[in-house]
């Protein structure tokens, strides 16, 4: 019966919009990669990694915080930032409202302080459920604020990246967030503080070309797609198919741009060990 329900959902128009996220079909989800039907609870207990094929499902920022930060220690920065709509697009305002309603989060990044096995950090977690994690003024501001807060509190900074890039709806203002966040990271470096960037699926465009690639240490989740230009754009430009495994986390490690690909089940411990090595 449950399977029937899933099949029905698959045939619906909505299916096109559902990507590799948590597919909210009752108590069951289907792995996008191996097509295995998995009991949701089992999946969540397994770090939202498919027990059958190891596929890392996309994580909401809420679930990510839960996996990385010690229970009860996450303290979100309370920033009441007004929406930015420099191009004055009505459809953009509407879409923000719809997304807030649907996701229960206010923007594409959650930022605050917390502990990892007792070690204090400033942490930012981007969320692909909100505008594919794209960076507009509010995201840029929250990241920059967090970097400055890390400097003020003399704490290490961890950013979990997931993003389609700059938020086109905000035009040039979104491009400028790349300069703003990168300038803040430069200050963090001057202060001698550790910044660990964790790249998750997908990380692209203006986020790759700013704070995502500026970590002292850059980790990535297995099989995440990471790049500057998207595969479709590259394919169009060069007019040929892309090589197997192109732009995966493993590819970036091979090319020398990612320090280490880390399985989600080992992420917290790896971060903890790295924090200890910088004490």
């Amino acid at each position: 019966m449950v399977i029937d329900k899933i099949k029905k959902r698959e045939n619906s128009d909505e299916d096109e919009n559902i990507q590799r996220g948590d597919i909210p079909i009752g108590k069951w989800v289907k792995c996008d990669k191996c097509k295995e039907i998995i009991y949701k609870e089992t999946l969540h207990q397994n770090y939202s990694v498919c027990p059958n094929c190891g596929n890392h499902f996309r994580l909401s920022s809420r679930r990510r915080v839960k996996q990385i930060i010690d229970e009860g220690t996450f303290c979100e920065f309370e920033l009441k930032l007004p929406d930015s709509n420099p191009l004055k697009l009505d459809e953009y305002t509407k879409k923000l409202e719809v997304l807030r309603e649907k996701t229960g989060i206010d923007e594409a990044v959650k930022c605050g302080t917390g502990k990892i096995n007792g070690e204090d950090v400033v942490i930012c977690v981007m969320d692909s459920n909100f505008f594919m994690g794209s960076m507009g003024k509010v995201v840029g501001e929250k990241i920059t604020y967090s970097v400055e807060k890390a400097i003020e509190l003399k704490l290490p900074l961890i950013i979990f990246c997931v993003s389609g890039g700059a938020r086109m709806q905000e035009g040039m203002i979104s491009l400028m967030q790349m300069a703003k966040t990168s300038a803040a990271i430069s200050k963090l470096n001057d202060a001698g503080l550790l910044y660990i960037s964790v790249l998750t699926d997908p990380t692209y465009g203006g986020v790759t070309a700013s704070f995502a690639m500026l970590g002292d240490i850059i980790l990535a989740e297995p099989n995440s797609m990471i790049g500057f230009a998207g595969p479709r754009v590259i394919k169009q430009t060069i007019g040929q198919d892309l090589p197997e495994g192109f732009q995966t986390a493993e590819f970036l490690q091979e090319q020398g741009f990612v320090d280490k690909v880390v399985h989600r089940s080992e992420m917290k411990d790896t971060l903890y060990q790295l924090l200890l090595l910088h004490k």
């Binding site: 040039m172 990168s182 020398g256």
Partner: protein, 264 residues
Amino acid sequence: MKSNNLTAWDRVNLARDSSRPTALDYINNIFDFFIELHGDRCFKDDKSIVCGLASINGKNFTVVAEQKGRNTKENIERNFGMPNPEAYRKSLRFMKQAEKFKRPIITFIDTKGAYPGIGAEERGQGEAIAKNLMEMSSLKTPIIAIVIGEGSSGGALAIGVGDKILMLENSIYSVLSPEGYASILWKDSSKAKEAAEVMKLTADDLYSFGIIDEVLKEPKGGANANVKEMSNTIKQKILEYADELSKLDIDELLNKRYEKYRKM
């Protein structure tokens, strides 16, 4: 600041016009002396960005310029002005040198964007751009960036973080091309003209946003109608702003630069 009645799309076309002067046309007219220096000392010399040393009346500058070709042969050599990572790394090498020798940096922006190719990704296009943004934000020497034609996306910004951002009247500066914008937002790249109107990519628009510091008026008929006059306008502004910025002590210069982007 509003100059005349051209639409945003008109300006997109002017900015892209093949008869529009390229960076080297201006460089040769503006500076008394210019010597191009090549290569990123790592991979190759990417000719989509020209770097070198230049002087005006005995004042020395480091020049970093995105260079489009003026014909097909040149365009192939210049990769149509679309830089690969090594172009940004070459730029950074010369900008770091400018810091060492306390020379102001002048950058000329004119690109459709960073090149989206397999090699570019293999060699870390994103990392190269990110590093330039971070380093430029704290280089201890004045930086003046001038958009002369098309400034598109991170590929433009990668040499565009500065103390003063100037735009020629008919140049454009945007988060991506109007075609790309129409294709992503409206799933129809043929609506580029409409996209150009909503994107706020003209010099006047960006001046009103406070993203750029000044719009440089073009001669009658546009920059291509009188390269000498346009070059002279740019030259005067370079001298004026370089003088203004060199009066600031380095901490003040860097604080102002940080605040400039901080409030965007």
